[in-house]
Symmetry: C2
Subunit: 192 residues, 2 copies
């Protein structure tokens, strides 16, 4: 990488971080390119050089966010999901950005709608794989992996809202481990 | 009620319906009083006569929404929750308004934040009561009602997002019944 392109990549990363913060604070519809530009000390013109539209910036933010969740070298395992939730509990700003965008995405014509629709189809399918790897064709409850997968995803998302609104009264990692117990995992030591 | 106050009440109800629609389409931050006023054939001044601020209108929308969920004459039962979810699946616009507002409520200084924070504390407590009435101090999984309640709430909220984004691939009432099975209910006939 040349010095010049390294500088460009660095600047892009700075802009993405700033955009994440602004979206966490105001949502996407409430966010302005001017606010993002100001936070990184650029003019709005300067920002448009890196991201030609507000939507292009949003798409880049979403792609970036998904990368952080990627598991290097392969698929998820059920016990790693508990660790992901613990990790999320240490990064409220990221969770807030994601939760604000998910909420907005269901409104009419939102530019993140297609992203989230596809993402959930993918995530449900990969959670079904995780559950199949752990339990085979039937969970202890009798549910198939495909039937349990949307519940696993729903609990993760739903707990994030409760936790963001009241972090002192909702222990998100503990609650998620409780859900794994419902699915059929052995209760973790010291739990409940 | 006098004719005059009946007309006022009717007009208020119309405005609330319009506000619900506009919030479902654009979220609260994206909604404008002008758009709501236009939808009911009022000037913005005329609208302000009924609701002096955008926030006052939001508070009224949220209060109205909670009333629809109220169970006449007492508490919820676990089997009625399944019916609530079925009912919700027939009113996507209401669910969309709620889900968009919940998403926005986690952003900084959002006027619905206090409402949702209090609402979730109340809903978790009342779900714990429902679970205690059904199972006593321990669910079949060993969880206490207080530990299972946030999961019940999380599943309802989380499924709403997946269903709004892909109504043809997520059967929300069926998925919720699956969750009740995980909690310890007998699977419903024909299920799974």
């Amino acid at each position: 990488m040349t010095t010049r392109s390294a500088r460009t990549a660095e600047r892009r990363a700075e802009i993405l971080r700033a955009a994440l913060e602004v979206i966490a604070e105001r949502g996407y519809r409430g966010a302005s390119l001017a606010a993002v530009a100001e936070r990184v000390g650029l003019t709005q013109q300067g920002l448009l050089h890196h991201f030609p539209t507000k939507e292009a910036l949003l798409v880049a933010v979403l792609a970036e966010r998904d990368q952080w969740d990627a598991v290097p070298g392969g698929g998820w395992r059920l016990d790693l999901l508990g660790q992901l939730v613990e990790y999320n509990a240490m990064r409220p700003a990221i969770v807030q950005t994601f939760s604000a965008l998910l909420g907005e995405s269901v409104t009419e014509g939102h530019p993140a709608r297609a992203f989230f629709t596809e993402r959930y189809a993918t995530v449900r399918a990969s959670m079904a794989q995780v559950l199949r790897a752990e339990y085979g064709e039937r969970l202890p409850s009798g549910l198939t992996p495909e039937r349990a997968a949307p519940l696993l995803v729903a609990v993760m998302d739903g707990l994030q809202y409760q936790w963001l609104l009241a972090p002192e009264s909702v222990d998100m990692p503990e609650a998620f481990r409780d859900f794994l117990t419902l699915l059929g995992e052995e209760p973790s030591p010291g739990g409940n």
